[in-house]
Amino acid sequence: MTIRRWLLLAAIGALGVAGCDYGTPEEVVLGVPVYTQAAPGSDFTPLRTFFLDPTVDVYKDGVQQPSVTIPNSVAATISTQMTALGYTAASQPTAETGLRLSWEKSTYVIYSGGYCSIYWGYYGCWPTWGYAGSYTTGTTLMVMIDLRSTPPSGGTRPILWVSALYGVLLTSTPEAGAPALNTGLVRAFNQSPYLRTSAAP
């Protein structure tokens, strides 16, 4: 009887150790991974100007929603980062590059390969060389599009740089989530030093 009790206690102890929490920590689940990638073979050094589109595309569960306006603080963050890299803000017809954001409010996982953004009548799709990972609620994508040449009718403009800020906008409006979005944007630029132009100070 004594031995049985010892065995029982040992078994309970082993099961107790084995049965501890098994999941991913909250700080990782709710963390903000930032993904960036430049188009293969791209050269940013000759670039000089950029246009930041004030419109943010919004998607929810794969369906495009009415667009929203980019928060002022987010526009300021992007402009500051681009200026530091040697770019100058320009108007739409003359800018060499265009930047546009897309906010994914999805409640389920979407594969990033499916993203296309309407850009002045042309589609700038998430490139095939980009990371074909997945994202879910609150992810914001930003693409830099090459505006130097006019695409053929019905064609798409080439993408120069992509970034994905995972889970950065878990709020109902972009304004409410702007601080987290700004933090993610700064990280995206910081981990993309190749964006620097030859005009950078």
Binding site: A18, E27, G31, P33, S192
Partner: protein, 219 residues
């Protein structure tokens, strides 16, 4: 006459007492009987080493257990089967990873690796007390297979790998007797090394050291 009755009463008492005394003396539990079977169950800590440590898990695993059955088939030798489990995990506040397509991914990450091993084991016991030692050092070796499951997550981005691999586990240890009887109980303290062929991502031939605190019952 009285003397006769007293003699007869003493004789009857001795006769009546004799069988009980004889049963006590020939009883089994106080005689030496070497243990033939051992069960070992306990808790195991483990520390990754080599590229398993450098490239994947830096900390100590406090989640593990071991259970083994051993049969003593020759003097000081036993053979048996061991089941063991270790879970290694790490949370990283910020890492930078390169995607297969050449992109850069930074952020907080979580990684784990589960290893569930089934091994044939052999042990040699340095028994200097004729089977009655308070301390019983031993050497052991395990050879078998290990099922590995590993997982990496950044937010809701996740990768996982699994497979079945080879494992070899030499160990040294010490049994400390806690109770003697028909079944004896020992505190078993062990230290060993795991070599496996587990390979995933940038980990190859995952290795670790381990410490075991267990109870061993022998009968």
């Amino acid at each position: 006459m009285t003397r006769s009755y007293a003699t007869a009463a003493l004789a009857a008492l001795l006769l009546a007492a004799w069988p009980a005394s004889a049963q006590y003396d020939t009883g089994g539990w106080t005689n030496y009987r070497p243990a033939k079977t051992l069960f070992n169950m306990g808790w195991q800590m483990s520390q990754p080493i080599g590229n398993f440590h450098n490239n994947y898990i830096t900390g100590t695993s406090f989640r593990g257990f071991t259970f083994d059955w051993r049969s003593v088939f020759a003097k000081n030798f036993s053979g048996g089967v061991r089941f063991g489990w270790n879970r290694y995990e790490n949370s990283l506040s910020n890492i930078t990873a390169t995607t297969p397509a050449g992109g850069t991914l930074t952020g907080p990450a979580f990684r784990y690796a589960d290893q569930f091993a089934v091994s044939a084991i052999g042990h040699y016991y340095f028994d200097t007390g004729g089977g009655d030692s308070f301390l019983l050092p031993y050497l052991g070796l395990g050879l078998g297979g290990v099922w590995s499951s590993s997982y990496q997550a950044m937010a809701d981005l996740a990768l996982s790998q699994s497979g079945f691999f080879f494992i070899m586990s030499p160990e040294v240890g010490l049994m400390i007797n806690l109770a003697k009887g028909a079944t004896t109980a020992n505190l078993n303290l062990g230290f060993g090394y795991n070599f496996t062929t587990i390979s995933f991502r940038n980990v190859s031939n995952a290795q670790s050291i381990f410490e075991t605190v267990a109870l061993t019952f022998a009968y």
